[in-house]
Amino acid sequence: MEELEHSLFLVDFFNKIFSRPLTSLLALIGIEVKDPNHLIPDHVVMSLMVMVFLILFFGLSSRKLKLIPSKFQSVLELVIQFFESLLVDIVGEEGKKYLPLVGTIGLFIFFCNILGLVPGFMSPTSKLNVTVGCALVVFVYYHLQGIKSQGLFKYLKHFTGPIPLIAPLLLPIEIISHFSRPLSLSIRLFGNIFAEELLIVIIASIIPFILPLPFMAVAIFTAIIQAFVFVLLTCIYIGGAVAHSEEY
């Protein structure tokens, strides 16, 4: 893929500023940097930008909250309500306390997907590293929440299924299915965004003028759907982990 993408202006600019001090820092630990001009890869710079945007935008807009919302505030409240209603639907009324992580991951992935459509930027989620990071965070988080809400032994017991006789049969299946969750989460997101960017690049290399436009419109749709799917699956995993055994 490297030969298809020229280096982005912003990444070059970022590297020009930060690669010198980072190289010297790495040399202190004892790591030799081979290519100091391309030290920081594209997806790191892009996900840093999304992070800064999210922190500034949502942080600053939550400074002056009013009881009677302005237009801007009510739009943002719609976003929060969407995540909250999803959590309440799936996890139950106590699911509201998981809103910070779920909302953050949903917004981060959505803006990462959308960023690839802006010229001069790329989607950080079209690299496997970013999606694996998100999926691992979800994996660790729902196990921790399950242990926290049910206790360690009760949570581990819920892996063995309802009948003790077939527990040795069910235990490996459950363990495999739990470890396949971050795999499928990360590869689904990565595959979608990567394939979509590849499609746009290939179409643009044939006729770069009007033909890529419908594919970019489809890409907006894919970005929304994939962010929604990631959030939905996160909610389902959390709901499965914190569910009490009588409901199970």
Binding site: I187, G191, S205, F209, L233
Partner: protein, 114 residues
């Protein structure tokens, strides 16, 4: 003046189309490599085609039975819609795995491994 502008713009657009860089492929006609590349194209195409056919069939079946369920009992529409989206996502994931495998097969530079 304005009348002339339209054909002129169209002409410019077609000129720009003509001058677009088409995919310039340098073919080194090593018979072993070309046969490997041919096979990788055929297999990659076959994988994604078969998977898309199977996935589309399964998604159509899921959607049709969900529609039937909702039309029989609109009160349960919310639950059915949730299950439908969940199932469609799981089916779609499998197709995307196949797509990734196809991309990997096509992107490997087979010349290095002959």
């Amino acid at each position: 003046m304005k009348k002339n502008l339209k054909p002129f713009g169209l002409l410019l657009f077609f000129l720009a189309l003509l001058s677009t860089p088409l995919l310039a492929q340098e073919t080194t006609l090593d018979p072993v490599k070309t046969s490997l590349f041919k096979w990788s194209l055929i297999i990659g195409g076959a994988i994604i085609t078969l998977t898309v056919a199977a996935g589309a069939f399964c998604q159509a079946k899921a959607i049709s039975s969900a529609c039937e369920g909702i039309s029989r009992n609109p009160g349960a529409g919310r639950d059915i819609r949730f299950l439908l989206i969940f199932g469609l996502v799981l089916i779609e994931t499998l197709v995307i795995y196949a797509l990734l495998i196809t991309i990997i097969i096509l992107m490997v530079q087979w010349g290095k491994y002959v």
